[in-house]
Symmetry: C2
Subunit: 431 residues, 2 copies
């Protein structure tokens, strides 16, 4: 009898769902892989917590270190989360003990993935993390295996469901960021501390992982632009809409010769762009490569069902022995990264100035733009509350460093400007 | 040195592109798989044909039977096409000779796939065909591996690029089917004999394959509804648009208890449905399952680049030993099929009557509908050329058998009706 024994460490929403779905689908898994899959042990911080399901006592393991050391266990499933702490120890030590590891932990992989994949190769085990990016969407597998014959040059998309939900609701219900965030927290779509999502860090970890797999480079996990959506207000969404744009938080990575241009920031995107109508918590990833052209992958970006689907697909991949390299190639073959200097980024820019309605505001804006060689394509001024006004404009193609210089100058003028919001515009002709 | 030797049989557009891309990416393939990939032999009907590329003489093999028998060759790549004839002989005999087989041949797999997968299992080799469905989109791999933990219940999409191109151009350029078809043939998007594409057979073979993989059932390759797009005219597209629909040729398979409801036919789909904006030659496949929910896969559905990408991904899958079962599970575990009786299909129906403008037409239509318990939701009559008129209507939910009875009755009345076009309507609430 060929069989695999796994230990699950972490019994939150995801861990419990993985447990249930393996139990439920065990005969299917056997038919599809030819192997029996046994859950040998599960471990959680609080084993006595009510979980609405009876887990046999002999499966419960108080000390997760026992799972890592258990000689009968082939695969450790880490579902604790966090870039460091216990999760890090579990994954490093499991690999050192020659256990295969499956994890949904994007923060850990983005931070330690290079080191971990070297360690996994050295110990002859697999480290897989499909659930770390795009929830249930089989995006990592598609890039590693389905697109294996391609030279990729562009990966981008909507990788964070929480922010996409917030932006969708702001537009749909004509509300501001803060109000929708509160609702999202109540509904469980956003965490009590929403920083990882709304400030772009979650999307950043995900694009770091995809970029490394797609371009065969070491992981870029710092020094690149990461901006969230806190500053966006309903006025921005409305103005964008009037001009034929939607606002989305995009994670983007491009290969430009030997440079990688990777970043996370909100974008005004044309309403006919492929991801413009990806709403609510849905994720979508666009992958451009040669010879295949463009493929797009879309689905639920989070949630226990989709995540457990991805976790189990990794477990069965290990059972089938089908996934040798964590990042799609031998870690020793990963190229060093030359990060594109983002000051040289060329884009159209949307800028909104919430101004005090005093003389000289428009002239201050326009003269500063002119001095920095930035020309304006659209401009509109509208009254706002309390005697303020919104001046909103979109520039022609401009250089990031020039825009930053203008923003720095004008942000200093507290007497004129109460708030300045800049959002980059994605143009179909020049992304 | 670990290495694999392949023989390519068929050097058309696709075969040549596979050859070129393997040559071009050989060092990448080695890095990603750990194996060297050698093209040992290629064979084509006419080896002397100018192909714009120098293939070394020692690789050229006049008699494809020599490739099938060559003891050094591990994998045979069949790129001839056609459900029977030489392609069939190549694939059957290669497997009998214990060669792995990669093919892009949807007609062959749809017709002989069950038998072939049994033969492959018996001979301990792989038979893979990612390129047979959705061009470069890794849809087969995603369903077999990425969604392995799910119970699927619904697979549908746009699986034929040619017909999608024709429908897109008809709408964009306000032209009729025949005119766009001529252009498409000139541009190479449609074949001289367009039957396989425009009559739905190509999409039918593809949904047969996906349905079998997705639901774990034997292949349904006959006895299901297959309708093409020949009958659709610009009037239908315009009327649909006015009511908020687009017309698309969909291939659909659903699991309803023990029944499979599989079919290919044009549909009026709401403009906010996920595949409504998939235009030109792009394909898109929607997959619903539990626990994952809905995922969507989109990309170029044909062409030498995308197809070669899929063919090479299958070759590397074999090299990595990662894909034991052609249809995702042991052929002996495939369930028998109970095909849903399509007479019991419930849908809204669009019907256009091109009528002679004589008294009694409307009354004949409406009385026939009433007699068959079909009620009308929208109706519009417009004058057409030569003193004719178009009566276009959309029914409320009705039963297929009742609709067919009406169409049969009215089609007999040649004095009143010059043409009757029926297209099923896909409703978001009841697909």
């Amino acid at each position: 009898m060929r069989e695999f024994n796994i230990g699950i460490i972490g019994l939150g929403n995801i861990g419990l769902e993985v447990y249930k779905n393996i139990k439920k689908n065990s005969s299917d898994i056997k038919k599809k892989t030819g192997f029996k899959l046994n859950i040998l042990k599960v471990s959680a911080k609080n084993l006595r917590k009510k979980r609405g399901i009876k887990i046999p006592n002999k499966l419960l393991e108080k000390n997760y270190l026992e799972i890592i050391k258990n000689p009968k266990i082939n695969i450790v499933v880490e579902l604790i989360g966090g870039a460091d702490g216990i999760a890090k120890k579990v994954v490093f030590d499991s690999i050192k003990n020659k256990k295969h590891v499956v994890t949904a932990n994007k923060a850990l992989i983005a931070k330690h993935g290079d080191q971990l994949s070297i360690l996994a190769e050295k110990n002859g085990v697999n480290l897989l993390f499909e659930a770390a990016v795009g929830g249930g969407i089989p995006i990592i597998r598609s890039i590693k295996q389905g697109l294996i014959a391609n030279k990729l040059h562009h990966i981008y998309g909507i990788l964070n469901g929480t922010t996409n939900y917030i932006l969708t609701e702001m537009e749909k219900r004509n509300l501001n960021f803060k109000d929708v965030l509160k609702d999202a927290q109540k509904l469980g779509y956003a965490e009590a501390n929403p920083t990882a999502d709304v400030d772009g860090h979650d999307a950043a970890a995900k694009i770091s992982i995809l970029s490394s797999i797609g371009f065969g480079t070491k992981i870029i996990n710092n020094g690149f632009l990461v901006e969230g959506i806190r500053k966006i207000e309903i006025e921005d969404i409305k103005f964008a809409k009037d001009l034929g744009y939607k606002i989305k938080l995009l994670a983007i990575s491009e290969r430009l010769g030997k440079y990688i241009k990777q970043r996370v920031h909100p974008c005004l995107i044309p309403i006919n762009l492929d991801v413009a109508n990806i709403d609510n918590v849905t994720n979508a990833i666009v992958v451009d490569g040669n010879p295949i052209g463009r493929t797009i992958y879309e689905g639920p970006g989070a949630g226990k069902g989709p995540t457990s689907s991805a976790v189990i697909s990794d477990i069965t991949s290990i059972m089938l022995g089908n996934d040798e390299f964590s990042f799609g190639l031998s870690p020793s073959a990963k190229k060093n990264v030359h990060l594109f200097n983002f000051n040289n980024h060329i884009s159209k820019y949307y800028i909104r100035f919430l101004t005090k309605d005093v003389p000289g505001v428009l002239s201050t804006i326009t003269s500063n733009l002119a001095k920095n060689k930035i020309s304006v394509a659209n401009l509109i001024q509208e009254p706002s509350n309390n005697g303020n006004a919104n001046v909103m404009l979109i520039t022609h193609f401009s250089k990031e460093s020039n825009i930053q210089r203008v923003l720095k100058n004008l942000n200093k003028q507290k007497k004129l400007f109460k708030k300045i919001v800049m959002i980059r515009v994605r143009d179909l002709k020049k992304l």
